[in-house]
Symmetry: C2
Subunit: 345 residues, 2 copies
């Protein structure tokens, strides 16, 4: 039997919290017998699952960080919020990882401030698994660092490759740098500098990746700064959504189309499910001392379940420990001011 | 009857040049009786159309700029290339505009160096029309300037709004700034600075546009730096391509699906055509003294035709003149070194 994995789960995070989170937590417990959940949230909300399930422990909290609050300020002010308490449980060694579908900014701030950065990691990065055509692709940073230095991208690449190796079983992940041309000489000043550093320091570096190559699956890991990454990720999601909307319009435009679409309904549903980011349940924050999975605010119970299980897999494969080993020889950078190493709000 | 519009057309540009370009030029001449084409290219290639069509004039050239050449260097070295000669015809007043499906970098360099920037325009921008859900959207810069200053974005916004007003007939175009959140406080240092300038200087500015909102059609004009814009444009194209590939797989996966897909075939084809960037035939370069349309390297004859006709419409609506009027009061910036105002290579 597998060793028990304990995850702290923020019951208060997400558009439909706490109900949907609690339902997702229950599904995850049912699916994974070696999982233990420490459910953080309003006592009235969490009590029912905790008292009815032996592998669910109630962690009553009195504060909630809202989606619109300034992340770092909220994390500093609300010590008894479900997000801060969840990260503190990881810090104290009571939990192996943390899952929340709440404010991404607050989760990143809490994970960075409370769990802390892994020694040698200059900035944690938010990764996301893209269901690309040929294979799943880890794309990072998708929003933790709006302003990056080229050297951060080398670290994102290393952490992304460790994730793909450990969790997705890719033996030798290839890394692409998001850029505006395939040629080495293409790019902004920032991209050219990042390219040179990657070529020098990262044996897995396989060259530039153009915008269209993220989703075609040309690389296992694609890295960029958090501004470009966030914009691109939302562009992919938005394009898929609009294409499916166009398709729905086209397939209901005539009686013939309606009959045809009834016949292909199941196949299109299966395709939609295949592309559904819910299957991965969230985005891992790489580079902090513990597993941290951030789910989409609109997560349903299945997405919450999948996010918790993905967190569980990261614990089992020792992702933070592997990153710590890989970065052990990197000299820790100086503190960058009071917000040093803190993700953008 | 409309006044004659004369366009210089680069017969040598594109993957299937010169045949496809010549075919497209012929289609454009047939479609638009007031169009005159000055066809620039190898004498042997252009002679047939020029001698058989009274509104086609042969402009024999002896050099060709290849896709892999350094744009500015090639433009300076190859004075008798089809691209440089085409732009020179505009400069000399013999043609009103220029179309090429050749090297984008070389076209931008030639348009900037030969036609010249409009007074007051700091950097020309490459725009593209995105077939968004609710309405066509002008998205710029998609690659002319990999490194931008926030003030350039204010100019891109002004030029984009003029284009949408003049060519697409949008009475009061709204402008969005591509950014990582809707809130005014979100973004990289660059985006925050651009946001502040736009809010101060542009009445049409309507706030931040997230990645998913480009294609949903939330704004008439969406602006960003040329790095992010290029990556995003290719991401939209790549995502559409992969989704259609997935769809083809799904619709041929069973006999039932095959029958259904036969019934919806026409509707899906119509949808694909609707999303096809070929309908717009290319991307306008805004801010140079003359119309300049750059087609995709993979343009077919229809795309070439549409690109030429789109160039023709820009001439008819006086896009460069309108930009010149709007920028007449802007003090012209100092020359930025020897490559000042030159698009990135």
């Amino acid at each position: 039997m597998d060793t028990t994995v304990t995850l702290a789960v923020d019951a208060m995070g997400g558009d439909d919290a706490p109900n949907v989170v609690i339902e997702g937590a229950k599904l995850a417990l049912d699916a994974e017998p070696s999982l233990r959940i420490m459910l953080c949230g309003d006592e009235s909300a969490i009590q029912e699952l905790a008292s009815s399930h032996e592998r669910c422990i109630a962690v009553p909290t009195t504060e909630v960080i809202g989606m619109a609050e300034h992340p770092a300020q909220a994390v500093r002010a609300k010590k008894d919020s479900s997000i801060v308490r969840g990260c503190a449980l990881v810090k104290e060694g009571q939990a192996d990882g943390f899952f929340s579908a709440g404010s991404t900014g607050a989760c990143l701030a809490a994970a960075t401030l409370v769990m802390g950065r892994i020694k040698g990691v200059k900035r944690p990065a938010l990764g996301v698994i893209i269901p690309a055509y040929d294979r799943p692709v880890l794309f990072a940073d998708v929003g933790a660092n709006a302003d990056c230095k080229p050297e951060y991208l080398v670290q994102f690449a290393k952490m992304g490759a460790i994730y793909m190796q450990a969790v997705m079983g890719v033996a030798a992940p290839t890394v692409g740098l998001l850029n505006i041309g395939e040629e080495d000489t293409k790019g902004s000043a920032f991209a050219l500098e990042a390219h040179a550093l990657l070529a020098e320091q990262l044996p897995a570096f396989a060259g530039n990746c153009e915008g269209g190559d993220i989703i075609s699956g040309a690389f296992d890991v694609v890295i960029t700064d958090g501004f470009t990454g966030n914009v691109c990720l939302k562009t992919i999601e938005g394009t898929s959504k609009v294409l499916f909307r166009y398709m729905r319009d086209a397939l209901t435009s005539s009686l013939k189309a309606k009959i045809g679409s009834a016949l292909v309904h199941g196949d299109l549903r299966a395709l939609k499910a295949k592309l559904d980011p819910d299957q991965y349940g969230g985005t891992p924050l790489l580079g902090v001392k513990g597993v941290c999975m951030v789910g989409h605010g609109s997560s349903g119970a299945t997405a919450v379940k999948n996010g918790i299980l993905a967190g569980c897999r990261q614990v089992r494969h020792g992702v933070p420990q592997r990153i710590a080993e890989a970065f052990a020889s990197v000299p820790d950078g100086p503190s960058q001011g009071k917000e040093g190493g803190l993700p953008c709000s």
